[in-house]
């Protein structure tokens, strides 16, 4: 009968556990509905060469990172040195989507801080960004050999995100066969 007094304690402990889990969740991280789906089709002029295009077809054939960035984006600047490191290490090609930016500003940014991207597509009005479900730059998509989105990182790629999540995933994807 005495055990009955333990019930409120039990309820309290369960509540604390749930609240504790709640504290660890990041409400800013909205799960992307694109995981496991083909990258949304687009074709845009490149930032550096407006006469040339870059599009979803160019994302096929290899595992790549598709990084959404802008010169006005503060967290992108924070992320940028790490992307530079990655591009120097040549682990994976990085493509960029220059989101709602101005060409001059974007080019200046790349010149000043370095260009980790093989190519950046120029999405001036942000329509392609919307089609990719972009809501907070920087965002990075991992696209596999078949052009399917396998992962999305919202917010800057950090050392921790890279070693714990992205790199193991990329190694796995690089081992996959094309068309599998």
């Amino acid at each position: 009968m005495r055990m009955r007094f333990l019930i409120p304690l039990g309820v309290f402990v369960i509540m604390v556990i749930f609240l504790g889990i709640g504290l660890k969740l990041d409400p800013r991280e909205v799960p992307s509905p694109f995981i496991g789906k083909p990258a949304p089709v687009f074709s845009l002029p490149q930032v550096a060469e407006p006469s040339q295009t870059f599009g979803s077809v160019d994302l096929k054939g290899q595992v790549s990172l598709f990084n959404v960035w802008a010169s006005w984006c503060v967290s992108c600047r924070q992320e940028h040195p790490f992307l530079m490191q990655l591009s120097k290490a040549k682990v994976i090609p990085i493509y960029g989507l220059n989101y709602k930016d101005e060409r001059e500003a974007a080019l200046g940014w790349l010149q000043q801080f370095g260009n980790p991207y093989r190519t950046s597509a120029f999405d001036a009005d942000g329509r392609v960004g919307i089609n990719w479900g972009v809501y907070g730059v920087p965002e990075t998509f991992v696209v596999d050999k078949n052009g399917v989105i396998r992962y999305k990182q919202t917010g800057p790629i950090t050392e921790q995100v890279w070693t714990e999540t992205l790199f193991p995933l990329i190694q796995k994807l690089q081992a996959e066969e094309v068309g599998a």
């Binding site: 800013r28 509905p33 694109f34 479900g133 809501y135 907070g136």
Partner: protein, 152 residues
Amino acid sequence: MNPRAYLSLLAVLSLPLPATEIREFQDPAQQASYESLIKDLRCLVCQNQSLADSDADLAKDLRTEVYNIIQSGKNEEEAVKFLTDRYGDFVLYRPPVKPITYLLWLGPFVALLGGGLFLWRQARRRSVAGVDDELSAEERQRLERLKAKIEG
């Protein structure tokens, strides 16, 4: 300026100004569905605001998308699908009923039912058992002692 004109000016100035741009439709039904849609869709940047309330750049772009969809004669479902295809159910203030949201939708009713059942059982047990006012022999002895003490 005469007082009446002054007052009416004041009244006009104190009208709540929409935080967002004004969009006009030819068809009042379309206007109504646009207005109700953007109130029911969540802005992803400032997550506690609807698309209608948010001043964020993305919210403005998404309002434009919704506007274009409705303007082109498509219905509300298509506008909602456009957004959920890209941003998931998160954009909906009213999430759909599906396995992952069962707990969300049914949880309160389950809790209510559980609480009701618990109360009912408690009440029944009490009415069956009656109030336990019998003192044990030990307690009675103690009562006697206390009485004796007080009465001296």
